[in-house]
């Protein structure tokens, strides 16, 4: 099941009808506020900067301007230009300088404005930062976070060089941790963990999620890197997804609930190193697996989740695994083409129906 296969005129992928109560991770109450994914990231940055003088931010236009998506807005006013540092347009050097600062004990949070520009920085990300600790026999470590917005959709028409999902570039390189949160709660807790982690953490933020709201506790909490999160418990089929795709999965699950299909949703919120155990356990329980990723289908990240399910649950699988993924295409500008490029909720619904063997 691929994006190609479905009616490209469907508008579902362009209309995020997801509401925050699809995913409820904390109960409302004292010390819990509703905030957006973007606010949650900002809050994590702010709290970590207050708590640890080693933490600082660097990236293009993250100062007064607040970054291309406003994530760092207000931080410049609070912390000043030394700790919220506008850089020249020098992606490889932004990352490399973060590495250098990290090697001498700082905890930089660097930003590349769009993940699409990481092609300029892959050397410092994958060939230097990921490997220095290993190559030097553990003489050093590289505790940085690299924030990069990725993904597309909703008719935004940011076209081929501002819309990609590239987690497979990073996840295929040992030595990096790769995070892709799907909710405000996860974003805050994972950002805190990422900053405190002693490894280089690639922190991917989905652009369409920035405005999504959810409940987030005040103050300090950390979520473990390298664990998947079961966002919904179910019995009949496991959907493994990450980032924005988790919302398609949750919505699909709700839709199919009415038909009596019980869907478990495993959120790969830490893409790498992968928590194989949680995926394996869920696959063993349900015996049916759908994997969903926004990235292009061929050689995409969802393949890994499928392989893990096979390796850990093959004797329990009752149906072949089905993948849902982006079209193998550069991202087009025109809405008529953009609409079909990414998976939609219907794609996920159809894939689930396929594995449970019920007709559409």
């Amino acid at each position: 099941m691929t994006a190609q296969a479905r009616d490209a005129t469907s508008l579902t992928s362009a209309v995020p009808v997801m509401s925050p109560d699809l995913i409820r991770q904390v109960d409302p109450g004292d010390g819990v506020r509703e905030m957006s994914y973007q606010e949650a990231i900002r809050e994590a940055l702010r709290e970590e900067m207050i708590g640890d003088p080693r933490v600082f931010l660097m990236g293009e236009d993250i100062g007064k301007h607040g970054g291309a998506f406003g994530v760092t807005r207000t931080l410049f006013d609070q912390f000043g230009g030394e700790r919220v540092r506008n850089t020249p347009i020098s992606e490889n050097t932004i990352v490399g300088a973060a590495t250098g600062a990290a090697l001498v004990g700082m905890r930089p949070v660097a930003e590349i404005m769009f993940v699409d520009f990481s092609g300029l920085a892959m050397d410092q990300i994958a060939t230097q930062a990921a490997k220095i600790r290993f190559m030097t026999g553990g003489q050093c470590s590289v505790p940085w976070v690299l924030r990069m917005p990725q993904g597309g959709g909703a008719g935004k028409s940011t076209a081929a060089q501002h819309s990609q999902s590239l987690e497979v570039w990073f996840a295929s390189i040992p030595g990096l941790k790769v995070v892709l949160p799907s909710t405000p709660y996860d974003a805050k807790g994972l950002m805190k963990a990422a900053i405190r982690d002693d490894n280089p953490v690639v922190f991917l933020e989905h652009k369409l999620l920035y405005a999504f709201k959810g409940l987030v506790p005040d103050g300090d909490y950390e979520l473990p890197l390298s664990r998947c999160d079961v966002k919904r418990v179910g019995d009949d089929v496991t959907v493994v997804a990450s980032g924005y795709m988790v919302w398609h999965a949750m919505l699909a699950a709700r839709i199919l609930e009415a038909e009596g299909i019980s869907v478990e949703v495993v959120d790969v919120r830490t893409v790498s190193p992968l928590d194989e155990e949680t995926i394996g356990a869920s696959a063993r329980k349900t015996g049916r697996v759908v994997v969903v990723a926004e990235a292009c289908r061929s050689y995409g990240p969802a393949n890994e989740w499928a392989m893990v399910a096979i390796e850990r649950a093959h004797d329990r699988l009752r149906a072949p695994i089905v993948r849902v993924a982006g079209r193998d295409s550069p991202i087009p500008f025109a809405n008529s083409l953009e609409n079909g490029v990414w998976p939609s909720t219907e794609d996920v619904v159809a894939a689930i129906r396929q594995v449970v063997g019920s007709p559409a």
Binding site: P88, T93, A159, Q161, S336, L337
Partner: protein, 319 residues
Amino acid sequence: MEVALQTLLEMYRRMVRIRQFELAATNLFKRGQLKGTVHTYIGMEASGVGVCMALRTEDLIAGTHRSHGHNIAKGADLARMMAELMGKETGYCKGRGGSMHIAAFETGSLGALAVVASGIPLAVGAALAFQMRREDRVAVPFTGDAGSNTGNWHEGLNMAAAWKLPVVFVLENNQYGVSTRIDDVTRIHDLSLRAAGYGIPGVRVDGFDVLAVYEAATTAVARARAGDGPTLLVTESYRVDGHYAGEPEVYRDRAEVAEYRAKDPIARFRSRLIGELAVDILALDAIEAEVAAAIEAALAFAREGSEPDPATALDYIYA
């Protein structure tokens, strides 16, 4: 420098075409009739037009995220440009590219790439081909002030200089990269000094003065054609609009913007044409009317076109 009347009028025409196109695009964008993003060239018209008027059709430019102006300066059709902004099959890129990737190959383009400075190597490679084939052609990549801090920029100038390639590197210093003043991310104020590191001439001109740009570009292009290698040409101007249409501009004073808006290169050229060069005011008014009509026609053409058929989604991925 003696410039023929016809050339002067064509310069004026192209500058006005850019201005009117950008105003129309901004207007559409603000009314929600354009998707994506619009980075206007308003206030910088003299730079692109001064450079492109010094080029022939077979010379090539490489564009950026801010290339409506470059394309129009090089002779692109307004209707197909506007259709592209609207994501129509009738646009230059058949709706696949949009504002940030708009490029008219028929009028001499190597593409418009939205990753800052990534057009530099393309121009270097095209110039290499020209040199190897002994063709009398020049390649001209545009970048901004901020773009000159990228690794691509340095590698490209060095390679072109080492091989004496026919390239004119146009660095449009509009003083900002998004919200960041060039002076905050580069220690030198005169960016043309960088040419010394490559053993090539560095020239700095008033980017509000189309004739000054034209003259400097003509010299640089002649040098390239003569086989003497590249030139770094810095045009000093200002970005009077936000980085993109609707950008909040929290990083600068309105007074600063107003000061530079007053330097309007079109108004300035117009008074010079009328005052110093004795051009008939009616000729200029006629150009403005002609352009206004062309914009109307472009809008109509663009609206009329349809978006690409989803059945063609897989076209053009592979040749």
